[in-house]
């Protein structure tokens, strides 16, 4: 049995008096695709800010590949790749430069970064675009580039915060398929935050977050065997999801 790639225990967070997360606990195992499902305002982005150490929680514990994020942040951050909801590319730089910049932040030499950039771009069907400026890419390819960048340092955990927002159906499907393949083929643990139920495959783990609390967790097809996940979610939260 493997150790969890991500283990969150009793995590709480407040913005002043407003409670954003309340005693959240869950784990994501290597090779598992975990969909963090919740409507806008559920606390997904706050949870991501805590998981990536942009904020620090006063209560609770986060461990990445056994490394405590609070006491050993560098080791924990080195194990994770992140795709934020907002785009974080440098649009003035080329695709290859964006990847090289990120690789260097993770200690890759120029040669090593170039090799890995070639490999990840190949995998995401973007090899021919390496010299293009990020500004010239469409929304779907920008997202693919962000995923490629998050894979440069070969993380064991991939965090994606609503990565398909604003994309057309085809791009959404392609990106969802790519990330599922990463979990299945490479054993990368994936935490995928979304409010779009159709991005969750039946065999995925679904984690339903509502008003800062985890309401339910389990295999998507077991949580909602009959009416589908969207109906189940509505039933639980009394809020619709698409």
């Amino acid at each position: 049995m493997h150790d969890p790639a991500l283990e969150v225990t009793d995590l709480s967070f407040r913005y002043g008096k407003k409670e954003a997360l309340r005693s959240v606990s869950f784990r994501v195992m290597p090779g598992e695709f975990c969909a963090l499902l919740g409507p806008n305002g559920a606390g997904k982005s706050t949870l991501f800010a805590l998981l990536t150490r942009l904020f620090v929680a006063r209560q609770g514990r986060i461990a990445v590949m056994g490394q405590d994020l609070q006491t050993n942040p560098r080791a924990a951050l080195a194990c994770m790749g992140v795709v934020f909801q907002q785009m974080t590319l440098d649009l003035d730089l080329s695709v290859a430069r964006n990847l090289a910049y990120f690789g260097a932040l993770h200690g890759l030499s120029r040669r090593e970064a170039a090799l890995r950039a070639g490999a990840v771009l190949e995998r995401l069907d973007m090899a021919e675009r390496a010299r293009e400026k990020a500004r010239n890419l469409n929304g779907g390819h920008r997202r693919r580039l962000e995923i490629a960048r998050a894979l440069m340092h070969r993380p064991r955990l991939l965090l994606l915060d609503e990565p398909t927002v604003g994309l057309d159906t085809r791009s959404r499907a392609a990106i969802t398929a790519h990330v599922h393949a990463l979990a299945r083929d490479d054993g990368i643990a994936v935490l995928w935050a979304t409010h779009l139920v159709d991005e969750v495959a039946p065999e995925d783990t679904a984690l339903i977050l509502h008003q800062g609390e985890i309401l339910q967790t389990g295999r998507a097809d077991q949580l909602a065997p009959k009416g589908g996940l969207a109906a189940h979610f509505m039933h639980l939260t009394e809020e619709p999801v698409t």
Binding site: Y15, G16, K18, T46, A49, T52, R53, L54, F55, V56, P73, R74, A75, L77, A78, M80, V82, F84, Q85, Q86, M87, T88, L89, D90, D92, L93, R97, A100, Y101, F102, A104, L105, H106, G107, L108, S109
Partner: protein, 265 residues
């Protein structure tokens, strides 16, 4: 090369590439001091008499006097520009990427600071080159001596900008900072007038100018341009740098600083 140096090199290269691609920024940074030098200084030349004060050993024209102040002005505006882009990056998200790198946050901020300073030094040398062609010739070795002075003064001003970036909630608030920080800091300094001139009009203003760290940055540059070290100015600039860098690191610390409070919806 260690992880630290890889990150430093990456951030320096990124800033250099951005600098090269943003030619308008470079030109804007040069136009401002050149307008002061060519228009403002020409007008004030007749009105202001300048006695011999160190490091000058003879009477000088007003244009020569304000050269160090304009060098510092370039660095001041560059520091504020860097702070502005930091606030923008934070709002737009790319700052998040940097802050999730597996490196101490103080090192990442230091790298950003150093990258901005190196860009400002390039701008200062371009300005000094144009001033030379305009007829303002400084001692040849002064152009070499001024390099470390520009590095130190740039780091101080950059640290102030970094601190401001950690405290400003939204991009829109930056205009206020421009009015309430840049202009008082520049005008209440020795950039445009020597202290004894200021004392003639107001003792209080003279004292404010003497305490202003920007004055010390200007004097550090002024003395270096004439191959002299001003230890008092260096001390004040180094102290100000240390204080503001510490405050900025505190401000960006996810556990203690202002970043967490900024997240309030």
């Amino acid at each position: 090369m260690s992880l630290y140096l890889h990150a430093l090199a990456a951030i320096l290269i990124r800033e250099a590439l951005r600098f090269v691609t943003q030619r308008e920024r470079f030109l804007a940074a040069l136009v401002r001091p050149l307008v002061w030098l060519i228009v403002f200084a020409a007008g004030f030349r007749a009105a202001l008499g300048l006695s011999i004060t160190p490091p000058y050993q003879t009477y000088i024209t007003y244009e020569v006097y304000i050269i160090p102040g304009l060098c510092a002005m370039i660095q001041l505006f560059n520091a504020m520009q860097s702070a502005l882009s930091l606030v923008y990056d934070r709002e737009m998200g790319s700052m998040r990427l940097l802050l999730t790198a597996p490196l101490p946050r103080w090192w990442l901020l230091f790298c950003k600071l150093l990258a901005g300073v190196l860009v400002s030094i390039l701008q200062v040398y371009a300005f000094l080159g144009i001033a030379y062609l305009y007829g303002i010739k400084l001692p040849p070795m002064g152009y070499v001596w001024v390099l470390p002075a520009l590095l130190v003064s740039g780091m101080m001003l950059g640290a102030v900008g970094l601190f401001l970036a950690s405290t400003i909630r939204q991009l829109e608030n930056f205009a206020g900072v421009m009015n309430f920080v840049i202009f008082p800091v520049f005008f209440l300094s020795t950039a445009l007038y020597p202290l004894w001139r200021m004392a003639e009009s107001s003792r209080l203003l003279r004292d404010i100018c003497a305490w202003n760290p920007f004055s010390h940055a200007v004097e550090l540059i002024r003395f270096a341009l004439y191959m002299r070290l001003n230890p008092e100015a260096l001390g004040w600039v180094a102290l100000t740098f240390a204080v503001f860098l510490t405050l900025a690191i505190w401000g960006f610390d996810p556990a203690r600083g202002i970043m967490t409070r900024k997240a309030s919806p």
